[in-house]
Symmetry: C2
Subunit: 148 residues, 2 copies
């Protein structure tokens, strides 16, 4: 169970744009400084544009910029756009795939996990990543739940 590089690179790119928000748009070449092949990054940014997360300006001096404020874009938005919606198991969200949907306890596990993980992803915004202290807060709530 792992994330592909799409989600990872996409978050790097969006964080880069968040850091340079207010400086006008950034060319693909600039964004690629994060260490991602330009040709590949172009695909990812295209997907993010179609998902409404970045805006683009074509032509000379063109480039990419965040479509919304950093606090309005979450890690979940980015992962969703690039990797498709989190789908632990096909049967979640598509009842027809499960012949005994009502009684299947595994299904309830998948549903619970999907909702929990989506909630986690949606709870972290780009702004949180810019504010380092947000992480310390998250760590505290996490370790408070789990006394080990």
């Amino acid at each position: 169970m792992k994330l592909s590089t799409k989600g990872k690179y996409g978050l790097y790119a969006m964080y880069y744009l968040a850091q340079h928000a207010g400086e006008g748009c950034q060319s693909l070449r600039n964004v690629a400084e994060i260490g991602v092949p330009e040709d590949y990054l172009e695909q990812l940014l295209g997907t993010l544009r179609r998902a409404g997360l970045v805006t683009t300006v074509r032509g000379a001096q063109g480039g990419y910029a965040l479509a919304k404020a950093p606090q309005e874009i979450t890690v979940g938005d980015i992962i969703d756009a690039l990797e498709g919606p989190l789908s632990i198991s096909d049967c979640v969200g598509d009842e027809s795939r499960c012949h005994k949907a009502g009684q299947c306890p595994s299904r309830r596990v998948w549903e619970y996990l999907s909702r929990s993980i989506n909630g986690l992803l949606q709870s972290i915004s780009l702004q949180d990543m810019l504010n380092e202290t947000s992480f310390d807060d998250m760590e505290r709530t996490l370790t408070a739940d789990d006394p080990t």
Copy 2:
């Protein structure tokens, strides 16, 4: 971001064994009633055996059984065994892969997510799946956090 069928089938199989705990061991053919090809299931049960989650008896009247009580086996144990440890990004857990480990905010996101998801997976035991009411409790804590 999805689970492969290994984790899904593995959980089905372990749940089947939990339901039949106390009835002696179950042959591969019996377990395959959950709807998984026998030859493939055999591989998965072999992996679960090497992970110490099931015990086997060879020969005629042999079969598979849980190695521990249902409350001592978690969904996380099963997923870990079959899909390898949750690895959101390579750089989590292997500092050498990240050239700027200390300052990377994405890394902090991955670490936070990994720990949270692992905690979730470890919090659900096979016994919880047998007790239907456990799910209602989980739903309550989940919806309490998220008022939508």
